[in-house]
C-alpha cells in the first residue's frame, strides 16, 4: 500500500481532485456505453418477441376465420 491512511488515499497528495475526476469520468463513460449496449439489446429482443407474437395472433385469427 502506497498510502498510510484512507484519507491520504482520497487526498492523493493534494492531487485528489485531478485523479478522482479522471477516474470518475472514465467509469461514467464506460458505464454509459455499456448501459447503452444492454438497453439497445433489450429493446431489440422485445421487438423480435413482439413480431413473433403478432405472427402467432395472425395465424390463429386466420384459422378461426376458416372455421367460421
Amino acid at each position: 500500500m502506497a498510502f498510510e491512511s484512507f484519507s491520504a488515499f482520497i487526498q492523493m497528495g493534494k492531487h485528489g481532485f485531478y485523479v478522482w475526476l479522471s477516474y470518475g469520468v472514465g467509469l461514467l463513460a464506460f458505464a454509459a456505453i455499456w448501459g447503452h449496449c444492454l438497453f439497445t439489446r433489450a429493446k431489440i429482443v422485445a421487438g423480435v418477441k413482439d413480431l413473433e407474437a403478432r405472427r402467432q395472433r395472425r395465424k390463429t385469427t386466420q384459422q378461426t376465420e376458416r372455421v367460421l
Binding site: M12, Y18, Y23, A29, L38, K49, L51, E52
Partner: protein, 246 residues
Amino acid sequence: MFKWLHPYAKSENLYRLSGKFLFWFGWLGTIGAIIGTIWGLAFTPADYQQGDSFRIIYLHVPTAMMSMSGYLGMAIAAFIGTVWQQRHADMTVIALAPVGAVYTFLALFTGAVWGKPTWGTYWVWDARLTSELILLFLYLGVIALYYAYEDKRSGARAAAILAMVGVINVPIIHYSVVWWNSLHQGATVTVFEKPKMDSSMLWPLLINIVAFGLILGALTLMRLRNDLLMKEGHRPWVKKVLEEGR
C-alpha cells in the same frame, strides 16, 4: 486459402462466434482493468516529481493507445468491406466507431486533467494533443456519415472511405512527439526498447493496456451482435438463438 473463413459470412455463425469471444473479452477485460486500476491507484509508489497525479497514467495511456489501435482495426474492417463487399465488415466499422470515440474522448479528457497539475494548463495546441483531437473528429465523422444516408449501404461506403483516408492520422499521432517540439513527453513504453519506467509502476500499466483492449473488443462485439439481431430480426435464426438465451 481462406475457405475456413467462409461459414462465418453467415450471420448466425458470426453471432454465435462473437458471443464466445464476447464472454472471454468481457470477463478478462473487466477483471484485468479492476486489478490494474486498483494496483495503480493504491499499490504503486508515487512519482518522485509528479507525486500522486501520475496515477492518471493507468487510465490515460491505455485509452490513448487503444483509441489508435481501435482506429486501425476500424480502417482494416472498412478496407475489407470496401474491397470484398463484406457487409459484416461494414457493420464492424459502425460497431467500433462509437467505442473508439469514447476511448479518444477519455484519452483527451484524462490528458487535460493530468496536464493541469503537471504542465500548468489543461490544453495547448501542440502536435500530440491536436492530432488526437483530430482522431476524435474522425471517429465522429465516420459515425455521422454512416447515419447521414437513408440507405445504410451507401452510408457504410462513405463512412468506410473516411475511415481509410483518416488512417494517415494514426502514425502522425504516434510520431508527433518525435517530429515536433511538444509539451507532451515521448513514449514511455515501446516494444523494442527497455521501458523508461520502474517495473513496480509498469506492471499495472501493461495489465490495463491489455484489459482496455479486451474491453474495446467486448463493447464492439456487443454492438455488432445488436446490429445483427436488429437487421435480421425477422429471420428464424434470431428466434432460435434468443430462445437458447444467447
